[in-house]
Symmetry: C2
Subunit: 438 residues, 2 copies
Amino acid sequence: MTEMRTLKVALLGCGNVGAQVARILIEDADALAARTGARLQLSGIAVRNVNAPRDVDLPQELFTTDAETLVKDADLVIELMGGIEPARTLILSALSNGACVVTGNKALLAQDGPTLYEEADKAGVQLSYEAAVAGAIPILRPIRDSLSGDRITRVLGIVNGTTNFILDQMDTTGAQFADALAEAQRLGYAEADPTADVQGHDAAAKAAILASLSFHTRFALDDVHCEGITSVSASDIAAAKEAGFVIKLLAIAEKLTDANGKEGVSVRVHPTLLPREHPLAAVRGAFNAVFIEAENAGELMFYGQGAGGTPTASAVLGDLVSAARRLVLGGPGRTETTTGHVPALPIDAATTSYYIGLDVADQPGVLAKIAQLFAEHGVSIEIMRQTIHRDAESNVESAELRIVTHRASEAALAATVEAVKGLDVINSVTSVLRVEGV
Amino acid sequence: MTEMRTLKVALLGCGNVGAQVARILIEDADALAARTGARLQLSGIAVRNVNAPRDVDLPQELFTTDAETLVKDADLVIELMGGIEPARTLILSALSNGACVVTGNKALLAQDGPTLYEEADKAGVQLSYEAAVAGAIPILRPIRDSLSGDRITRVLGIVNGTTNFILDQMDTTGAQFADALAEAQRLGYAEADPTADVQGHDAAAKAAILASLSFHTRFALDDVHCEGITSVSASDIAAAKEAGFVIKLLAIAEKLTDANGKEGVSVRVHPTLLPREHPLAAVRGAFNAVFIEAENAGELMFYGQGAGGTPTASAVLGDLVSAARRLVLGGPGRTETTTGHVPALPIDAATTSYYIGLDVADQPGVLAKIAQLFAEHGVSIEIMRQTIHRDAESNVESAELRIVTHRASEAALAATVEAVKGLDVINSVTSVLRVEGV
């Protein structure tokens, strides 16, 4: 048997995921070599402080603060530092040196992906980032390769475990947002500063990546309309539940034709009602899932753990072995295709169904007035349900009206809601939420 | 812009899937060229009868009965004839000519895969077969590439839509097997001769393919223990339902250590009880899904349409575009790794939980007797539930006992069931079914 080639692997960053990647590279070295056709030698781990405590016991001599030198000497570079700089400069340096790069840096990819892809193309090496979206779930490679002969029409993703855990807690226990967030923080599902998760920014970066691969066009973070879950109340959840829905924070990318007949893609993140029988509705706790609709394949769903050191490390290692196999076999890396050239559409061009909760005056003719107003705005009502409450003590009656619309443009729906607010028979608009999957 | 290279595509077979593949190759030619970097020109379709009626209107001049000549002149060959010969000879001829081959022929792969893989390796070309397992669902590529840095420990798959439809019908309507089968035939979900589906042979071929990729070892059809669903009765389904389970035909491949400490893989197909909250339990109708457990990734599930011309064509086209991209980029194809070298274990070495339904004498001490017998065989009982029925007219009481065991070896469980049958307090053993996911 001929001696196996050795490939040098530089690891940048040793946090939650990085430490597990290092552990697996060392512990599973023989199995990884057998599958790759080359030994993957961890040549060093670049960190800010070589003496910081780690989750995993790793050989001290691997640690260095000199990331530049480590990168220069590597065949494969794994970037798990996060943030924009110095990650960006180090990745570009690795690519131009001819190293394949594996990264999980969704913020960098969403902000400056095109620069990285172009550098990888120019150098003829692979840049892979499966870990950047939905942790352990193989989703980017299936979109890029398995569905390359199909036309994806729509992607709906639960891609942020923190917000899914919070919404699931609220749904299960009836808790308010603040209490569910506190519970998520106690259990380690939410960070001390939860802004990036609960405001939807993390999901928005992933939405840009999913949309780019699905529609063969490069979308950036600016193309994504983003709403978080901080304003979702316990009563929204309860009302949704009663109507047979569950509220999820979805990353959505879908092909649309706007009012002027212009084709484009709407990329957005917002709390969304889903019918309880929809496959995504069953995705509980901190799990992630991506639901894809394609012209030929029909409906597909990919489900698994969206975060966590060890699960995410699985995605990093999968990219690493695939890139290393390519180095062993020879031949250039596989590049993205960006021949779609479809524009990102503004949120106003999106069409969706709406769930609207109204506190209305309990008097004859109210339903007719509201229905007429919807009709005037070209928004068709699918379900309209009125519930009368009578306060036992005061004997005062109040009426609650719940409306689910057919799909209409965001613009028409926003105008309708504005007009509804002006009606004298309306006490208040209690909730306005988008609906998918109906 | 330089002129794009043209790659000649030969299609063998024009049934349900083949006709859709041809249609998409023609209709989506521009989009496919943009994604591939080369034009994919359908050079001909080999069929037995050029004048047979087709599902899709295709140019008559494409049809030929001369498959050999078509293959000789092709860069890419799509084999969708099914069956062993002439498919096998044509694929080997294509590979040795240096053409990449895409096939959906699970029977051929399960029976003679190694010969094909070796020929592909020798020629340095790609042999891909995503369509062979679970139709439109991207599952083989994720296992081979995305999970290549992980260790899969277990695969549970609903990989036959016909049997899933039948079992789902029985579960939903309470129908007997024969009636549900007739309904499946009426709706086109089952063939006139349903043997390959209902006896589990189709699922067994897919189990062999899933196990081979998951455990980096070539397993053949002979390694798969196979039981179909013909003996699943309406009362089995009803009893399972009452106990919180659903019955699914599962293809299972799992890593085990047998009683002698020998490591191996158990590959099997049999009707299986799953708790209703298990992700696979929600897979309804003719849908397919594959549930994977991996050391690092944890639990993953892939869900979608497992059959049908258009969905399966999506998987074929995905393989085709991927292979064509490789031809355009240059460099050798990607080969399977078979360095796992784990043996297939016989069904006796498998460990599983069992659900056992017993019709027992209604007299004191019966439960104790049965419990003792299980203990003697080293099988631990998880749940034991007795229901007493009293016939209103005769006033005769009968007792039904339902037992769910903890995981134990198939051998121990079989011996226990045999021994139970010999007890004088047992009127009959009404059902014996394996349980997973508890």
